[in-house]
Every structure is written in structure tokens, then in C-alpha cells.
């Protein structure tokens, strides 16, 4: 079943290469997105974690799988209308690449072998490069080149980290030398310490580049800024969660080996740095999509801080992962609509969006309130839980610093978003109009985030607790 979930997007991708009709190709996306979501639901509900050496789902990966699949389905519905707007650019490349991207992300989530995980993450880089280059102009080339080179080098370092972990097993002697994750976990206590630590550092740097943790985030504003809105949503909500999952695997391994404290400290440091840099660069940011990219850096930082503190904060981080992915979906899609309408994403041209485009502008503004953690949205709950975890574990200064930085982010982001949305209506030069397919997905994402803020269903709570427990308890 899980194998089907990974392979069927590839089959659809090859079908997309053969289909001669533009609209039919576009519609392949929502069809496979929905199918993927249903199948993912079945996989998660049906699996009581049968040990397969290659792929399998545990509580952590089930969570990430469902979130990614939901986000993808929403973006795929949006894609039909978006690609219809962009007939001049064509969809012969973007549709197959989006499908391969889905398949690679699913494989990365389900992988139980570190080598396979590496392969899948590298494939996501390669499949998303043409997506970022969709607009085919100078700026998008620059963004694509930076993305490709930085992420490839980062991922190469992650491979080195994986090899170091295998070497830790080799030096330890009396254990099987394998990169199968369950074997590694059970024998983690025997692994040679120096090599395990070196491996963890390289994994953190490698997958951290992919996730966009500061100081390894420099590709992020460029790539998210130049990519189409829906690609930005998939990268900021889906791919970053996948990369975070890869880092969490390394944390799990360190915890099992009894060195969890060191791993947590590293995450905490990088998380705080991400939050700080994002807050600085968001002030006076004149470009709405780059603003969202820095917001993504900020939230990756919050995730890292949550896991870095541990305990209740880890639970908060799991909830935050869900909230962040959905809100980023809403924000990037509505920002994409605004960009299409104004034919620009810079504040020099974009203003009065709320009056000009009531739905997209309104979604963008509401999304901003959600992402900065205003009540009653879900991010308020998750950030509050993380802060409670921080204060509860006695890290007074870290908690205060985080509150200060979050306030800074709110002000910085608010200045740009309010300039873009408030003001007199503008006479648009483009023929763009909000249509049903263009706004239904962001609206749905926003409603879900709102729902999560008001009411956390019991099954989801249990799933989050289980996922957090995987990171805490030594197996």
C-alpha cells in the first residue's frame, strides 16, 4: 500500500508527459493529489507499523505524511486555475516535475533506511529545481542556481554524515554495519561516540540547509521569491517538514545513544539564530514573497527551538509543524494571486489589495495574523505551548528572548503586509479575477488553522503525543 503511494505519482507523471491536452494535464494534478490524500489516510489508519527494512510509517512520519499530502492536494486544486492563467509558460515540464516531487517527498517520509532517505531528499531537490525555474527569466535562473548548488552541497554533507554513522557502527565492532534505521536505533548505545557526534553535526548541517535553518538559509528568500506561489507553498510547507523529519531521525538516533542533550542544544542554538536573523531581515522588507520566505526561516527556528527544549515544547513543535504547513499554504497561494493581479510582488506596486481583491487580499491579511500567532488561530496555541514548555523547564531567558523576537517579527511583518493590503483600491492592468479554484484551497487551509486553534480533536492530540514521545523516550 505504501509502495503504491510512492509509485503511483511516478506513473501519473509519465502519463502527463504523453498527454497532448493542456487542461487534461493540469487536471492530473488535483486527481492524483486527492488520490494521494485518500491513500495516505488509508495507510496511516491501517498501519500498525509492520517492520519492513526499507519503508514504513511510525507516528512521526504519519503526521508529516498527512500534512504534506493535505497541503499538496490543496495546491494541486489551485494549480489547475493557476496553470490556466499561465498558458504562455506551458505545463509540459511543471506537471511531471510536481508529480515526481510528490513521489520523492513521500519516499523521503516513509524511508526507514538512511541511504534511501538521502536519495529521496536529493531527488526532491532535483525535481523542484525546474519548478523554481518556471518563470524562465534572469531572476529565476539566479534563484535556481543558488538553490541547486547550495542544497546539493548541503545534501552531499548529509551523505557524509550518514557515512560517519555507518563508520561509528564499524568502529564499535560487535554490531551489524547497516544503515537500516531500526537496527541503528536498537544498537545505538554501542555506536562509537566521536563518529556518531560528527555524523549528527553533518546531518544537521546537510538537512538543515534543506530545511533553511539559519545560517544555512541564504537560498531561501531567492527561491521562494522567484518560484510560483504554489511551488513556494509546497516548498515552505511540505519540503521543509520533510527535511525537519530527517533531522528528527538524527535526533532520535542521538537520544537512543544517550546523547540527546547535545543534539537538543545544537537545535536550540540554530533555532534561536534563525528566529533572530528572520526578525532582522523582515523589517522593511519590500517584497511580499521574500517576506514569506523569512517567515519560513522564523518558523523553522521555532520548530527547532521546540524540539531543542523537549518535553511539552516538543508536543508544541509537532502541533506547530501542522499549523505552519497549512498557514504557509494559505499565505503563498494568496500572495501568488496578488502577484498575478498586480503583476508585481513589490510594495512599490502592491497596495490596497484588500479593497482591490477582497478575497485574496483578505486571505493574505488573515494568513498574516495567523502566522504571527494571533489568537484564535492554531499557531497561537502551538507557540503558546512551546513557550509554556520553555518556561516550565526553567529557561526563563530563552523564553523572554523568544517573546521579544516574536514581537519584532509581528511588527516587521505587519508593516509590509499592512502596506500591501490597506489603502485605496487600485485599477488593475491585468485581467486577473479571483475565481473559485484560486481561492478555495487557501480558504480551506485558513479555516483548518482556525479550527485547530479553537478545538484540537482527540485523535490528533493522541497522534501528536505519540510523535513527540518518539523523540523523548529511549526505545
Amino acid at each position: 500500500m505504501l509502495l503504491l503511494l510512492i509509485l503511483f505519482p511516478l506513473a501519473v507523471a509519465s502519463l502527463a508527459l504523453l498527454l497532448p491536452w493542456y487542461q487534461a494535464r493540469s487536471w492530473l494534478l488535483p486527481i492524483s493529489g486527492m488520490l494521494h490524500l485518500i491513500l495516505a489516510g488509508v495507510c496511516v489508519a491501517g498501519s500498525d507499523y509492520a517492520p519492513n527494512p526499507w519503508i514504513g510509517l511510525d507516528a512521526l512520519s504519519s503526521l508529516v505524511l498527512l500534512v504534506t499530502s493535505l497541503l499538496y492536494a490543496g495546491c494541486a486544486v489551485y494549480a489547475v486555475a493557476y496553470l490556466d492563467l499561465r498558458r504562455d509558460r506551458g505545463n509540459q515540464t511543471i506537471v511531471p516535475c510536481l508529480l515526481v516531487f510528490l513521489s520523492a517527498m513521500t519516499l523521503a517520509i516513509a524511508a526507514r533506511h538512511l541511504g534511501l532517505l538521502w536519495m529521496a531528499v536529493e531527488t526532491t531537490t532535483l525535481a523542484s529545481a525546474p519548478l523554481i525555474y518556471y518563470n524562465r527569466n534572469r531572476l529565476s535562473i539566479e534563484a535556481t542556481w543558488k538553490y541547486l548548488l547550495l542544497c546539493s552541497v548541503g545534501i552531499a554533507l548529509a551523505l557524509l554524515g550518514i557515512l560517519f554513522i555507518a563508520y561509528a557502527a564499524l568502529v564499535a565492532g560487535d554490531m551489524p554495519i547497516s544503515l537500516q534505521f531500526d537496527i541503528l536505533l536498537t544498537n545505538a548505545a554501542q555506536l562509537s561516540r566521536p563518529w556518531l557526534h560528527a555524523g549528527f553535526v553533518f546531518l544537521l548541517v546537510g538537512f538543515g540547509t534543506k530545511m533553511g535553518l539559519a545560517p544555512l538559509h541564504s537560498w531561501k528568500p531567492d527561491a521562494y521569491g522567484e518560484a510560483p506561489g504554489m511551488v513556494g507553498a509546497l516548498l515552505a510547507g511540505g519540503l521543509t517538514s520533510v527535511a525537519f523529519l530527517a533531522i528528527l531521525r538524527a535526533v532520535q538516533l542521538m537520544t537512543a545513544a544517550g546523547d540527546g542533550a547535545m543534539a537538543r542544544q545544537a537545535l536550540l542554538g540554530m533555532g534561536l539564530l534563525s528566529l533572530l536573523l528572520a526578525a532582522i531581515f523582515m523589517v522593511r522588507q519590500p517584497d511580499i514573497k521574500r517576506l514569506l520566505a523569512y517567515s519560513s526561516v522564523e518558523h523553522m527556528g521555532i520548530l527547532a527551538i521546540g524540539v531543542g527544549i523537549g518535553g511539552l515544547a516538543t508536543f508544541g513543535a509537532m502541533l506547530h509543524l501542522v499549523n505552519n504547513a497549512l498557514t504557509k499554504g494559505c499565505l503563498f497561494l494568496s500572495a501568488g494571486n496578488i502577484q498575478r493581479a498586480y503583476d508585481s510582488k513589490r510594495l512599490s506596486r502592491v497596495h490596497g489589495a484588500l479593497a482591490t481583491l477582497p478575497i485574496s487580499g483578505g486571505l493574505f491579511l488573515a494568513g498574516f495574523l495567523a502566522i504571527t500567532g494571533s489568537p484564535p488561530f492554531g499557531l497561537f496555541m502551538s507557540e503558546f505551548t512551546i513557550l509554556r514548555g520553555i518556561f516550565g523547564s526553567g529557561h526563563l531567558w530563552i523564553g523572554l528572548l523568544m517573546i521579544l523576537l516574536l514581537a519584532m517579527v509581528f511588527i516587521g511583518m505587519g508593516a509590509t503586509v499592512l502596506t500591501a493590503t490597506q489603502g485605496e483600491p487600485v485599477k488593475l492592468e491585468s485581467a486577473y479575477k479571483d475565481s473559485f479554484l484560486l481561492v478555495v484551497s487557501p480558504l480551506l487551509f485558513l479555516l483548518l488553522v482556525l479550527l485547530l486553534g479553537v478545538y484540537l480533536p482527540e485523535p490528533l492530540q493522541a497522534a501528536l503525543r505519540e510523535a513527540a514521545a518518539l523523540l523523548e523516550v529511549q526505545p
Binding site: 541511504g115 536529493e122 525546474p130 534572469r138 541547486l148 548548488l149 557524509l160 544503515l179 531581515f281
Partner: protein, 212 residues
């Protein structure tokens, strides 16, 4: 066959130096191809003629020694570039720095807690030195093609380390990793083509429009 390993690794290090010091792109691509081909022999020499080793060697030879260099040569023929003109750091300083890091790699490898059977070999220092050289190329050169070469050398260094551990890596995963490398270089080659079409150069220093 073990006695052949050290000369082979020495050749790999010499190729690192050549690439760091040379301005001729075609020659650089050819020697990196040679480096890939030499490294393909490594699994055979260290593990003997097992199925796993033969498959890995054949694949590494095809990808690292033949297909990727061919792709790169084709790319520079299209964009008509022959030389790396003004590197960010001169050739002599990078070469000297490369030598220093290589010496450092040998000293550092002695301090590492290696498995007893790897203490005398040159595997680990060569791997480190090759990775450093790849990094140096990535940082100090302006041409997109040379940056790809740096990435390839970085991967070559990791490959040397991986040969020590091929027991941990199933054939399928190794094959996938090499395939990813191939597709990666292929995609990068396409991007280089697009860069040259848009900017009429493949100097990445022109790629500076996106910044704060």
C-alpha cells in the same frame, strides 16, 4: 592487489592539485573524469572481485568517468568557454592552500579514532583532502562549470570514504546515489546553458540581482 591502492590514491591527490592550479577548463574536466575512473577501481582493489564491488565499480566508471564528463564537455562546447579567466582567489594561492589542507588532512586523520585496519591506509586522509579541494573550487571560482567540478570532487571525496563502508550500503542505495549525482549534474548543465543564454556568460558573479 592491496599494494596498488596507495599509488592510486596518490594519483587522486595529484589530480586535486592539478585542478586547483589549472585555468584550462577542458583539461580540468578531463582530469576530473580520470579521477572518477581511477576511483571506480577502488572497490575492486579493496574488496576483491565480488558482485557488489564489480557492480559499484562499473557504475561509478560509467557515471563519474564517462557520462558526466561528456555532459560537461558538451555544455562548454555550447557556451564556447575554454578558460577560467579571473578566479576570485588566484591559482597559486588556491594551489598553496590546497597543499596545506592536504597536509592538514593527513595530520588530522592520524588523530581520528579510526578502526584499527584503517590506521595505516591513505583512505581517510585522501577522502578529506579531496573534499577540501572540492570545497576550494566551489568557493574560489566564478564559472558555473568549475563550481560543478568542485561539487563533483566533493562527491568523489565522499565516494572514497564510502568505499570503506560498502558493507553498510546495499547495492540499490549506492546505485540510487550515483544516479542522483548524474541527474544533478545534468540539471546543473541545463541551468548553465540557460545562464549563458540569458547573460551571455557563465560567470556566476553576474547572478547578484537577488539580495537584500
Amino acid at each position: 592487489m592491496m599494494e596498488l591502492i596507495n599509488p592510486l590514491l596518490l594519483a587522486v591527490i595529484l589530480i586535486n592539485f592539478y585542478t586547483l592550479g589549472s585555468a584550462r577548463l577542458v583539461a580540468c574536466i578531463r582530469v576530473v573524469a580520470l579521477q572518477g575512473a581511477l576511483l571506480a577501481l577502488l572497490p575492486l582493489l579493496s574488496h576483491g572481485l565480488t558482485f557488489h564491488a564489480i557492480l559499484l565499480a562499473a557504475e561509478a566508471f560509467c557515471f563519474k568517468g564517462v557520462v558526466i564528463p561528456w555532459l560537461l564537455l558538451r555544455a562548454i562546447r555550447r557556451v564556447r568557454i575554454r578558460r577560467e579567466m579571473e578566479p576570485i582567489v588566484g591559482f597559486v594561492p588556491t594551489l598553496i592552500f590546497g597543499v596545506l589542507t592536504t597536509v592538514g588532512a593527513f595530520l588530522f586523520a592520524d588523530l581520528l579514532p579510526l578502526a584499527p585496519e584503517h590506521h595505516d591506509g591513505m583512505f581517510v586522509p585522501t577522502a578529506l583532502a579531496t573534499m577540501f579541494s572540492g570545497f576550494l573550487l566551489l568557493i574560489t571560482r566564478r564559472k558555473a562549470i568549475t563550481q560543478i567540478l568542485g561539487y563533483l570532487m566533493l562527491e568523489n571525496g565522499i565516494f572514497i570514504f564510502a568505499v570503506l563502508l560498502s558493507a553498510a550500503m546495499p547495492v540499490m542505495v549506492e546505485a540510487g546515489i550515483l544516479l542522483d549525482l548524474l541527474v544533478g549534474v545534468f540539471v546543473m548543465g541545463i541551468v548553465v546553458n540557460q545562464i549563458s543564454r540569458e547573460f551571455s556568460t557563465i560567470n556566476t558573479e553576474r547572478l547578484t540581482a537577488l539580495k537584500e
